[in-house]
C-alpha cells in the first residue's frame, strides 16, 4: 500500500544516489579538483585559468608526470554561488578524493572552502579570488593564493596616484567586499604617501549595475580632481563605456584596477577611453620576454586566442604543484605544503615566489595607461611601470595583527 506508492520514487532516488557513489581512481595519478564559476559574467576570467592549467599539466604529463605520476583534474561549476561551490568542494574531497583543490573567483566561497580545507587537511590553491583576507586575516596552513589580492592592488594604485598632482578625490565602486577592500587599500596607502589628499565623497553601486551614467553625473557635480574606481569584473566594461559616452574620462582622470586588462578592453574595441590609469598582473604583450612569448604562442596554438590574466594564474599553479611535489619527494600533503612555502619558479612574467609566512605569491604589478596603438583592434596599456611584488606585499606585522596573533 504505502510501500507501493513509495517504491518507484525510492527506486529513482536510490538510483540517483548510486550515481553519486565514490569515484574510482587510479593510484597512479595526482588528482586536482577545480571548483570555479563557469556560468555567468565571471566565467570570462575563469575559463583561462582552467585552459592554461590544462596546457601546463599536459606538458608536465608528456614529460612523464611528477614522480612518475600523471596529473589529472576535474572541474565543478559553482555558478558563483557559495552553497553550490561548498557542496561541490565537499564532493571533490569526499567522493573524488582529490589531492589538491583549486579555484575560485568568488571570495566568499574561497573563504568557505579555505576553512573546509583546513579541517580536511587538503591544500587549496586560490586562483582568482582577490580578497586580502584569504592569506591575511583568515589565512591558514592549507590555503595558498596564486593571484594578487586587494591589499597589493591598493598599494600599487596608491603608488601610482601619489606621483600625480591630484588633491581632491572621489571614491566609487561596487558595493561589496572587493570594491570596499580595494578602495580602502588605495585610500589608506595614498594618505600615508600624500597626507594632503582630501576625500570629497563616495558612491557605491550594486554589483552588476548595468548603467553608470547617473553615477558619473553625480560624481561630476562634486568636481573632484581625480576619481578612484573600485569596480571589479563585469563592472569595468560598462563603466569605461559610460565614461566615454559622457566625456567623463576626458574631464576627470581616474584610476581603476584591472582597467587595462584585456577582458576589459577587448570588448570595447577602439571606443574605449584613452588615458585611464590601471594596474594588472599580466599582458600578453608585456613583458616582452622570450618566456612570455613562448607562453603566449603555446596558449594561442592550443586555444586560438590570446591568454588573459587568468591564464597566468592557472599556468603557474600547475607548475608550482609539480615543483612542490618533486621537492617533497613523495605525494604527501604536509611535505607538499612545506615544499611550497618559500618556493620560487620561473614564469612568463619572471620569477615568482610564494611567501612562506602567508602563502601569498609575490606578484609584481604592471601599471599603465590605456591608449590606441597601431596594430591592435582595441586599446592596450602603454607607459608600463613595473612595481615589484615585494613592495606590494602587506607587511607580516599587519597580517599578524589582523589574525590577532601576538
Amino acid at each position: 500500500m504505502k510501500r507501493r506508492m513509495w517504491l518507484p520514487v525510492c527506486l529513482a532516488l536510490a538510483l540517483a544516489f548510486l550515481l553519486t557513489g565514490t569515484a574510482v581512481r587510479a593510484e597512479k595519478t595526482i588528482k586536482v579538483g577545480i571548483v570555479d564559476t563557469y556560468t555567468g559574467p565571471a566565467s570570462t576570467y575563469t575559463n583561462d585559468v582552467r585552459d592554461a592549467f590544462k596546457l601546463a599539466t599536459d606538458k608536465i604529463n608528456a614529460k612523464g608526470g611528477i614522480l612518475g605520476k600523471k596529473i589529472e583534474f576535474v572541474t565543478r561549476d559553482d555558478k558563483f554561488k557559495v552553497d553550490i561551490g561548498l557542496s561541490a568542494a565537499k564532493e571533490l574531497i569526499m567522493r573524488e578524493n582529490v589531492d589538491i583543490l583549486m579555484g575560485t573567483i568568488n571570495s566568499g566561497l574561497t573563504l568557505a572552502i579555505s576553512d573546509l580545507c583546513e579541517k580536511e587537511k587538503i591544500p587549496f590553491l586560490v586562483t582568482f579570488a582577490k580578497s586580502e583576507k584569504i592569506t591575511g586575516e583568515k589565512g591558514n596552513r592549507y590555503v595558498f593564493s596564486m593571484n594578487e589580492n586587494t591589499a597589493m592592488a591598493g598599494k600599487a594604485g596608491a603608488a601610482g596616484l601619489a606621483k600625480k598632482p591630484y588633491k581632491k578625490y572621489w571614491i566609487a565602486g561596487d558595493d561589496y567586499e572587493y570594491g570596499h577592500a580595494i578602495a580602502d587599500s588605495v585610500w589608506n596607502h595614498l594618505k600615508t604617501l600624500r597626507p594632503d589628499v582630501e576625500l570629497l565623497g563616495q558612491s557605491w553601486w550594486k554589483v552588476g549595475e548595468p548603467d553608470f551614467t547617473p553615477y558619473i553625473t553625480a560624481m561630476l557635480s562634486a568636481k573632484p580632481d581625480a576619481v578612484i574606481i573600485a569596480t571589479g569584473g563585469a563592472g569595468c566594461v560598462p563603466f569605461l563605456k559610460a565614461s566615454a559616452a559622457t566625456g567623463f574620462s576626458k574631464s576627470v582622470p581616474f584610476y581603476m584596477h584591472t582597467a587595462t586588462e584585456m577582458s576589459t578592453l577587448a570588448p570595447l574595441g577602439l571606443n574605449a577611453p584613452e588615458g585611464v590609469l590601471g594596474t594588472s598582473n599580466y599582458f600578453y604583450y608585456y613583458p616582452d620576454t622570450p618566456e612570455n612569448k613562448t607562453f603566449v604562442k603555446e596558449f594561442k596554438d592550443a586555444y586560438g586566442r590570446f591568454p588573459k590574466v587568468g591564464a597566468l594564474y592557472g599556468y603557474i599553479t600547475a607548475n608550482f604543484i609539480a615543483k612542490a611535489y618533486e621537492k617533497a619527494g613523495e605525494i604527501n600533503t604536509e611535505k607538499f605544503i612545506n615544499a611550497l612555502e618559500g618556493m620560487s619558479i620561473g614564469s612568463p612574467i619572471g620569477e615568482l615566489t610564494v611567501r612562506a609566512f602567508d602563502h601569498q605569491v609575490m606578484f609584481p604589478m604592471f601599471m599603465g595607461t590605456t591608449k590606441k596603438v597601431e596594430g591592435y583592434d582595441y586599446l592596450i596599456a602603454t607607459d608600463i611601470v613595473t612595481i615589484p611584488g615585494k613592495d606590494l606585499m602587506p607587511s607580516i606585522e599587519d597580517i599578524k595583527k589582523a589574525r590577532g596573533v601576538k
Binding site: 553625480a218 559616452a245 574631464s251
Partner: protein
C-alpha cells in the same frame, strides 16, 4: 559624510534626465511583462531571458553588418523580431497547452525556460563580454547646464513615449487590442462569441516578448552584454509592474518613472544607500496602494 553637499538644482535636473533614459528601458521591458501578465495571466520570468537574448542578437546582427549606421538600425529592428519569433515558437510549442494551469505552475514553467535559455546563451555566445558600438551620430554628448549628457540617452528618452503611444494605439484602437482587453477580463466570454482566443493570446504573448527584445536591443549599446543580464532586469520589471498595477500599460509607465527617477536621484542624494532605494519605494507604494497605483486588470 558631506551629506547632500553637491546637490544643486542643475545637478538634480541632470540626474532626472539620466533617470528618464533609464526609465525608458525599464518601461519597455515592464510593459511587455505587464501585457502578458494582464491578458494571459502568466508571470513570465523568462521575460528577462528574452531581454538578454535580444541584446545578444543585437550584438551579432550589428557585427554581421559591420556596425555603423546601417548595422545599428538593422540590428535594432531585427533583434526584437528575432526574439518575437523565438517566443512564437515557445508559445505555440509549449505555453498554449498550459493556460489553464495555476499561476505558480506557470511561474515555475517560465523559470525552467530561463534555466534553459541561460545555458543556451552560454553555448552560443560564450563567456566573453560583448559590446555594441554606437553609430557615429549617437556618440558623444551634449552639455546641458554644465553637465554632459550622452546623445544616445536622448534617443532613448524619445523612444519611450513612441513605444507608449504605439502600445496605447494597439490596445485601444485595434481589433486585436480590444479583443485582448476583453479576454483579459473574461476569456470564456470572448471565446463564446466565436473568436479564436488561443490565437489572440499567441499574438499578445509575441508582442510582449517583442518588447523584451526591443528593451534588450536598445540597452545593448549602453552596457556590456553578458550572461546574468536576465536576473538583474527581471526582478526590477516585476516590481515596476506590481507598483503600477498588474496588466496596466500606463501603470508600467508610472512604475518605471518612479523606479528610474528615485534610483537616479537617490544616487545623487544618498549614494551610500542607493542599493536599497528601489525596494523602499516599492514597499511604500504597496503600503498605501495595496493593489498598485493604477487599476489592475486582475
Amino acid at each position: 559624510m558631506d551629506f547632500a553637499s553637491n546637490i544643486t538644482l542643475s545637478a538634480l535636473f541632470q540626474q532626472s534626465l539620466v533617470g528618464l533614459s533609464r526609465t525608458t528601458i525599464l518601461f519597455i521591458v515592464a510593459s511587455g511583462l505587464s501585457l502578458i501578465l494582464g491578458v494571459l495571466r502568466i508571470p513570465n520570468v523568462a521575460h528577462g531571458s528574452l531581454y538578454m537574448i535580444g541584446a545578444f542578437i543585437m550584438y551579432s546582427i550589428n557585427l554581421f553588418f559591420g556596425g555603423g549606421q546601417v548595422g545599428f538600425w538593422i540590428a535594432v529592428l531585427l533583434s526584437p523580431l528575432a526574439v518575437a519569433l523565438i517566443s512564437l515558437v515557445v508559445e505555440r510549442g509549449l505555453f498554449q497547452y498550459l493556460y489553464e494551469r495555476e499561476h505558480l505552475m506557470l511561474l515555475l514553467f517560465t523559470f525552467s525556460i530561463t534555466l534553459v535559455f541561460g545555458d543556451l546563451v552560454k553555448m552560443v555566445w560564450g563567456s566573453d563580454y560583448r559590446c555594441v558600438d554606437l553609430p557615429a551620430a549617437f556618440q558623444g554628448f551634449f552639455t546641458i547646464l554644465g553637465f554632459p549628457f550622452p546623445r544616445y540617452n536622448f534617443f532613448l528618452i524619445i523612444t519611450g513615449p513612441v513605444v507608449a503611444f504605439g502600445l496605447w494605439f494597439l490596445t485601444n484602437r485595434t481589433r486585436i487590442g480590444k479583443i485582448a482587453r476583453a479576454a483579459a477580463v473574461d476569456r470564456e466570454m470572448v471565446g463564446a462569441v466565436g473568436i479564436n482566443v488561443s490565437l489572440v493570446f499567441a499574438a499578445v504573448f509575441v508582442i510582449g516578448c517583442f518588447l523584451a527584445g526591443l528593451g534588450g536591443a536598445l540597452v545593448a549599446p549602453t552596457q556590456n552584454i553578458r550572461q546574468g543580464m536576465d536576473h538583474a532586469i527581471i526582478i526590477e520589471a516585476f516590481l515596476i509592474v506590481i507598483m503600477g498595477g498588474l496588466g496596466n500599460i500606463w501603470g508600467a509607465l508610472l512604475g518605471a518613472l518612479i523606479f528610474g527617477l528615485t534610483d537616479s536621484i537617490g544616487i545623487l542624494v544618498w549614494p551610500q544607500f542607493a542599493i536599497v532605494f528601489p525596494y523602499v519605494i516599492v514597499v511604500m507604494v504597496l503600503l498605501f496602494y495595496p493593489k498598485g497605483l493604477l487599476k489592475s486588470t486582475w
